[in-house]
Amino acid sequence: MMKALRSKDALSGLLFLAAGLLSGALSLGLPIGDRIRMGAGYTPLALSIVLTGLGLIVLARGALNGSAPLTGWHARPVSFVLASALMFGLTVERTGLFLSVFLAALTAAGASPAWRRLEAVSLAAGLAIFSSLLFVMLLRLPIKLWP
């Protein structure tokens, strides 16, 4: 049973099911209204019910027929790529674009084992210079450049 649940389709089904139940629960907190004057929760609730149903179907099909199992999780790329975006978001308004891009690119470099330290630093610096020139100097986007 556990093995059947590990199939891609079964897991997708679970994902849809969870999303459907969550949004359904949240929709119930909204005014539903009637068919003429639908409230804010009318369509989300209807969609949540449909999604929950579809989730069950996908789950059942996946569990019964057993599609390809989910494989190949690599923690390193996921965490560093996401951390890179996080770094950018946390720093851009505090340190300005230049440092923010530098830090984000340096973090991104962590995602691949192939980098040498000096190489990563110079690429990050290059990217920071390039984006500062392009976005702030040339395109004049209203972004702070320095702290």
Binding site: S7, K8, D9, L11, S12, L15, A19, G20, L26, L30, P31, D34, R35, I36, M38, G39, A40, Y42, T43, P44, L47, V50, L51, L54, V58, R61, N65, G66, S67, A68, L70, W73, P77, V78, V81, L82, S84, A85, L86, F88, G89, L90, V92, E93, A104, A108, A109, A111, S112, A114, W115, L123, A124, L127, S131, L134, F135, L141, P142, I143
Partner: protein, 501 residues
């Protein structure tokens, strides 16, 4: 004859050094903006808007519109090269364009995209010149029930596009509709699924969503398999399209142009559907639908021509009615207002030089775009020879900057991060993101129009079948889904057996 002489007058207006210069500048900026992930025409035009204050109204409009349709050209570049759709119009191009690039046919994909766009741009501009007054009357036949039926047809097209089992595609669509309902409910002003975050009150942005589920997840996936893309992505087999590519592309481009031109006219958001419907049609009528998703050149030609045609004809509501059909066109209306010209149906008669000059500039601009773009293809393809590890930090950083600049809001960057994780999950689970994205774009329009139709009909569902256009569209959607459902279920089963064996 009258049209012809007026068009001639338009060319007279455009073929002066100043206007030609701004036409060139606009298309060049548009191309570059389109290539830069995340920085779309909306941001570019918003930035350049103050400059137009100092230009003549015509020069300003020529430049801004050049940016708009130029970005449609450029937008496909990153979609093909790094699976990064900068515009909702290039979501579909990601599917087969990126696949072609992985097979070493990036040059062919880019060239086909450019030529299909040129063809579509010219035809659609001709339509704009000759048929605007007539077409706008047709567009006015679309009320809430018609828009609703049209959106349903668009969602059915998204099911056709999807590869895997039909139940998963449907679930992704419903999920997309739900994600689209995040934000303030238009009717009541009540925030939905916002958890009290003001930045979520306008909903999740298209840019972070598209960047997250397409680009960020693709970066992660590519890094998991470092050998596949370690030293340069692929060997580039040939730069230009083959005779076979051309033979396959041109009918697809014609059909794409027809679909894009007709949908672009509708001010209520028809333009979004163009590329999806065109792609779905090609896949449906193809003798070998399994080629789609595996690098079919028609899968690039059709959506690219459709979105470019729609970009041109979406000027029709603004120019002949004064009502902008999308956010970018609304900015152009803003540019006109800054010049003291209130957009409206009378502009075409009171300021004919503006209308015909703009139309003529679109012909000139489309030709300029091809001249700018064809030589660039060589450069883009060279970019693919750069080792991927040097390229991916730039993709991430540009995705972040692009997301941030949309609303000058760091919250969007965090949204990008979360959606990147979600996109990665989708990739791992073989859930295709394209239907979700279309549903996300179409969802709010569908809901609004459905509620409006129900409100106006006082709750009677029969409006959808009593009004001929809506009935026709729904019938088409029904037919399509029946055709899809049968082989779709079969295909789903085949997969299952493959998996279990």
């Amino acid at each position: 004859m009258d049209t012809l002489s007026q068009l001639w007058m338009g060319f007279d207006q455009v073929l002066v050094p100043q206007n030609l210069l701004f036409c060139f500048l606009g298309t060049l900026i548009g191309t570059l903006i389109g290539v830069l992930p995340g920085v779309g025409p909306l941001v570019a035009i918003a930035i350049l808007l103050p400059i137009t204050y100092f230009l003549s109204p015509l020069a300003g409009l020529i430049m801004l519109s050049g940016i708009y349709y130029g970005a449609q050209y450029g937008g496909s570049t990153t979609a093909i090269l790094v699976r990064l759709p900068g515009e909702n119009s290039s979501i579909v191009t990601c599917i087969d364009g990126y696949e072609m690039a992985r097979q070493g046919r990036a040059g062919a994909a880019l060239a086909v995209a450019a030529l299909a766009s040129l063809f579509a741009g010219c035809v659609a501009t001709l339509i704009l010149a000759i048929l605007s007054p007539l077409l706008i009357e047709l567009a006015l036949l679309f009320g809430p029930p018609e828009y609703c039926a049209l959106m349903v047809l668009g969602l059915v097209a998204a099911v056709v596009i999807a590869q895997g089992p039909i139940d998963k595609a449907l679930a992704m669509i419903v999920l997309g509709l739900l994600v689209g309902s995040i934000g303030t409910d238009v009717n009541s002003g009540i925030p939905r699924f916002t958890f009290g975050v003001p930045a979520l009150m306008d909903g999740i942005g298209f840019i972070p969503l598209a960047m997250g589920v397409f680009a960020m997840s693709e970066v992660i996936k590519s890094l998991e398999d470092p050998e596949a893309r370690g030293a340069g992505m692929v060997t580039v087999k040939r730069l230009w399209p083959s005779a076979e590519d051309f033979r396959r592309s041109w009918p697809a481009a014609m059909r794409g142009t027809a679909i894009g031109s007709s949908l672009g006219i509708l001010p209520g958001g028809g333009a979004y559907l163009g590329s999806f419907v065109a792609y779905a049609l090609e896949k449906r009528i193809s003798a070998a639908p399994e080629r789609f998703g595996a690098g079919a050149v028609e899968g690039v030609a059709a959506p690219e021509s459709a979105n470019n045609a729609a970009a041109q004809t979406s000027f029709i509501p603004l120019l002949s009615l004064g009502i902008p059909g999308n956010a970018v066109i609304a900015l152009m209306a803003g540019a006109m207002m800054m010049q003291g010209i209130q957009p409206g149906p009378q502009v075409i008669t009171t300021r004919p030089e503006l209308f015909w000059g703009l139309v003529a500039s679109m012909f000139v601009g489309n030709v300029m775009l091809v001249i700018i773009n064809l030589p660039l293809i060589r450069i883009w393809v060279m970019l693919l020879k750069v080792p991927y590890r040097l390229l991916y930090p730039a993709v991430i950083v540009f995705a972040c900057i692009g997301t941030y600049t949309v609303g000058n809001n760091t919250f969007d960057v965090f949204v990008l991060m979360v959606l990147g994780l979600l996109g990665y999950l989708f990739l791992k689970l073989d859930c295709e993101p394209a239907p979700l994205l279309l549903a996300f774009v179409v969802g709010p329009l569908l809901e609004e129009n459905f509620r409006r139709a129900m409100h106006l009909s006082r709750g009677s569902l029969s409006v959808f079948v009593e009004r001929p256009i809506s009935a026709g569209l729904l019938l088409a959607a029904l037919t399509l889904i029946v055709i899809v459902a049968l082989p779709g279920i079969r295909r789903g089963r085949d997969r299952v057996f493959e998996g279990s064996s």
